[in-house]
């Protein structure tokens, strides 16, 4: 193997760490609907997604360095810049995972790259218009497109499937969900593992180990694929819970419509040259499916928190990356400080996450974000409308004494 400088080795390890966080952050995209509707058991679902991610990483040989292409001037890229960018992206991914919010890993990575480049080469090195066309517009378009498609699809499947019942329909919707979830996993492996490969390759080129324009070496492809698969298998249960249970309550029909819409949008967008984020598409599709069913509700408070997280992703990752790059600028010890900070804060976030463990056993149990507002609403309604509350307590007081008097229940219930 080629001779490695220390900084290059650090960048490669950090990139693989990002790939890992990317994996468990995005498990929800493929498997949240499948898990919440019970089509697959949680462990089976993440295992399947992990395998398909790994396979996906090997499917395409096209170098996916679209992340760096166009957005920032390649001339400003040094290994330290990439390192700082990855630090910002990893920390944002971990933070959003801690609070259980789905957010785009690609946006985090782009934000990191932008922040680090600005800190290293000034604002001139970032192309503002590319920022709008590649980040802003897709972030608004993706959930709308996927959501509308999922909403219509949900309506249709309920209408057409009125006469579908029994074992056949149950099995059918299960199979449909698994197939479309598999497709999303595969696409994710190809796209996102490729991004990491692109980043590592870029770092290797920037560090002078590889000639410009060369394909990623085999060890890069293998390690990126394995890292994302391991991350996926670990399962970002917190995010899966938000997506599968927190945004809305999904029935198998809705899960199928949502996942099909997401898979279609992801494939159509990457094929037609207007790349949309997987996370945004799936979240939009889930909400659309929630709206498409009669009596279905979307918990807008959870959705709003998610939208806020989307808006913050890029600037937050950029800010952290810029600070990291600034500290790295002081020399080797600066880089060491950033590396130690990354490890320490990752550990801290993990430690905090252990206070309330979410894993495959309780991923479908309750919806922490959803309960809160409904409780608030109920309380508010109870406070605003005293008369019904009064009748409730009257009924209660009427029925409670009943068991004490064996002869009276028939009278009191009337």
């Amino acid at each position: 193997m080629e001779s490695f400088s220390l900084i290059l080795a650090i960048v490669v390890v950090t990139a693989l760490a990002f790939d890992f966080t990317n994996g468990f952050h995005d498990t929800a995209n493929a498997m949240a609907t499948t898990i919440s509707t019970g089509a697959l058991r949680p462990k089976v679902a993440v295992a399947m997604s992990a395998v398909l991610n790994l396979v996906g990483a090997f499917l395409s040989v096209e170098v996916a360095n679209t992340i760096s292409k166009g957005l920032v001037d390649e001339a400003g890229i040094r290994p330290e810049v990439i390192f700082a960018a990855l630090v910002g992206a990893i920390l944002w991914n971990l933070l959003t995972w801690l609070v259980g919010l789905p957010s785009s890993s690609s946006h985090a990575l782009m934000g990191g790259l932008i922040g680090a480049t600005v800190a290293s080469a000034g604002f001139g090195a970032v192309h503002g218009d590319v920022l709008v066309t590649k980040v802003l517009i897709p972030a608004i378009a993706a959930p709308l497109v996927a959501g509308l498609a999922a909403m219509f699809a949900t309506r249709l499947t309920y209408r057409l499937g009125r006469k579908a019942d029994g074992k056949a329909s149950e099995k059918g919707y299960r199979a449909g969900q698994i197939a479309s979830a598999g497709l999303v996993s595969l696409a994710h492996g190809t796209n996102d593992a490729q991004k990491t490969m692109g980043i590592i390759t870029l770092a290797l080129v920037a560090g002078g180990v590889l000639a410009p324009d060369s394909d990623p070496p085999l060890w890069v492809i293998v390690s990126a694929g394995v890292a994302i698969a391991l991350g996926t298998y670990l399962g970002g249960w917190r995010i899966i819970r938000t997506m599968g249970k927190g945004l809305t309550d999904l029935q198998p029909q809705q899960g199928f419509a949502a996942q099909t819409s997401a898979a279609t949008v992801i494939l159509a967008s990457s094929h037609l040259g207007f790349s949309l984020s997987t996370t945004h598409s799936v979240s939009g599709a889930v909400m659309g499916a929630g709206l498409g069913r009669k009596g279905g509700v979307v918990r807008w408070s959870t959705a709003t928190r998610m939208f806020v997280a989307w808006g913050l992703t890029l600037p937050a990752a950029a800010f952290v990356a810029a600070v990291a790059e600034w500290i790295c600028g002081f020399g080797s010890w600066g880089t060491a400080v950033v590396a130690v900070f990354l490890v320490a804060s990752s550990f801290a976030i993990w430690k905090i996450s252990r206070r309330e463990i979410v894993d495959h056993t309780n991923v479908n149990d309750h919806e922490a974000p959803g309960e809160e507002p409904s409780g608030v609403v109920t309380q508010a309604m109870a406070a605003v409308t005293p008369p019904p509350a009064g009748t409730v307590s009257e009924e209660l007081s009427a029925t409670i004494p009943a068991p004490n008097d064996p002869a009276s229940p028939a009278k009191t219930t009337v």
Partner: protein, 73 residues
């Protein structure tokens, strides 16, 4: 600033049409199979419904295969 509205529009249109078409086909397939289930329970057969169902599923499978082809391309 150059926003590729044409690409965005086609993503929108294609996604909408393909999703709705796929879900419709699949639902029809499921309906066909559950009709067979009901027919079998009454000792009848539903050849037409089952044939239609498998045709629907075949179309969906073709779409999935095309999706995999797109991922590999």
């Amino acid at each position: 600033m150059q926003i590729d509205w044409a690409a965005l529009g086609s993503v929108f249109g294609v996604s909408l049409v393909v999703t709705v078409a796929l879900v419709a086909l699949f639902t029809l397939g499921i309906t066909g199979l559950s009709r067979r289930e009901r027919a079998a329970a009454q000792g009848e057969s539903a050849v037409l419904a089952v044939t239609g169902a498998y045709a629907c599923f075949a179309a969906c499978a073709a779409a999935v295969a095309y999706g995999i082809y797109l991922i590999m391309a």
